[in-house]
């Protein structure tokens, strides 16, 4: 990629990352939430991969680490649901009860409020970021070409 694209990408990616985190964390006060924030975070890494090549982006975030983030996000969300059921066993609990709001409620329009909703947003954001990044990294590591008259399907994982 040319020098203009690389310079602009290097300046802008910090703002995109910050905007993604803002959309994720303030999901219970303004429009946004975990899904949009997670996809915006993945877009920051995709921008670096498109501007600087695959090797440089994988030094920042390896695709195996992103795959682990994907799985860990799913397990954490399930833990969040079951934990409330275990902690409030004798108090009328159900799956995904908001156990933090029942014990320590905050004030409306504040950041530390609404119990498990900001925690759920963070976990979903991590999971969606890992999933979208793995999906894009896989498609850029695969090549189909002709080699001595037959088609070869190669998936490269090392640097180019």
């Amino acid at each position: 990629m040319s020098l203009i694209v690389k310079t602009i990408a290097r300046w802008v990616v910090g703002f995109i990352f910050l905007y993604g985190i803002y959309t994720m964390v303030y999901g219970h006060l303004t429009p946004g939430g975990g899904f949009a924030g997670g996809v915006i975070l993945a877009c920051a890494y995709i921008l670096i991969m498109l501007a600087y090549g695959r090797g440089f982006a994988f030094r920042n975030l390896d695709w195996r680490i992103a795959r682990a983030l994907d799985s860990v996000g799913g397990i954490l969300f399930l833990t969040l649901g079951v934990l409330g059921m275990i902690l409030l066993m004798d108090d009328g609990a159900f799956f995904f009860v908001n156990f933090i709001q029942r014990s320590l409620p905050g004030e409306p329009f504040h950041l530390f409020n609404a119990g498990t909703i900001p925690i759920g947003n963070l976990v979903i954001g991590i999971k969606v970021m890992g999933a979208v990044f793995v999906g894009f990294a896989l498609l850029s590591m695969v090549r189909v070409y002709e080699f001595r008259g037959e088609r070869v399907f190669e998936s490269r994982e090392e640097e180019e």
């Binding site: 498109l50 409620p105 896989l138 070869v152």
Partner: protein
């Protein structure tokens, strides 16, 4: 607002027809981006900012995936219709679908009077009234997604996880086995 909404949907229909009939694949993907962008503007006009934000980010990722993954490798691009029987049956089925759609559309409530206004015990009244007092969240959509209906969010996480798992399983290294055969 009603006229502006109708105009944008007509723009989306024209972009959709252009997407299907064009022969160049890059033009098709760009027109699909136009459909998605018009859809985000429609969501803003229909007072749904959460949905508009999510749609436009997902649309950008879909465009990048389509352009980067597949358009790069088509040396010979195939285009055109199937044989004549497929085309004629497609047109007949679409006309039948529109006729039955008109029959069903007469029974609908009017545009601007949603279903939850008619019934006093609808679920939406409960979500709107109890969102602040029971969950403490100001955004009613986030409260519905993560507190009242968190099970559906868990289902969506499972679907995303399965899609990524399927993608990884399909794109493994097969270099050694191809060379042996």
């Amino acid at each position: 607002m009603f006229e502006l909404l109708a105009l944008i949907i007509i723009f989306m229909i024209l972009a959709g027809i252009l997407t299907i009939e064009t022969e160049d694949l890059v033009s098709a993907v760009v027109s699909m981006g136009a459909v998605g962008f018009g859809l985000s503007v429609c969501f803003i006009l229909l007072r749904a900012p959460d949905v508009a934000l999510t749609n436009i980010v997902v649309e950008v990722v879909v465009l990048i995936l389509l352009l980067r993954g597949t358009i790069r490798l088509g040396e010979k691009t195939v285009s055109g219709h199937r044989d004549l029987a497929g085309l004629v049956s497609g047109i007949i089925l679409v006309i039948l679908f529109l006729i039955f759609g008109i029959y069903a559309g007469v029974e609908f409530p009017r545009f601007g009077e949603p279903g939850f206004l008619r019934f006093e015990d609808s679920a939406s009244w409960y979500y709107l009234r109890e969102a602040l007092s029971r969950t403490g969240a100001v955004n009613a959509v986030s409260a519905v997604l993560l507190d009242f209906r968190a099970y559906d969010t868990l289902g969506e996480i499972i679907v995303l996880f399965t899609a990524v798992l399927g993608s990884i399983a399909l794109l493994r290294k097969k270099l050694k086995r191809d060379k042996e055969q």
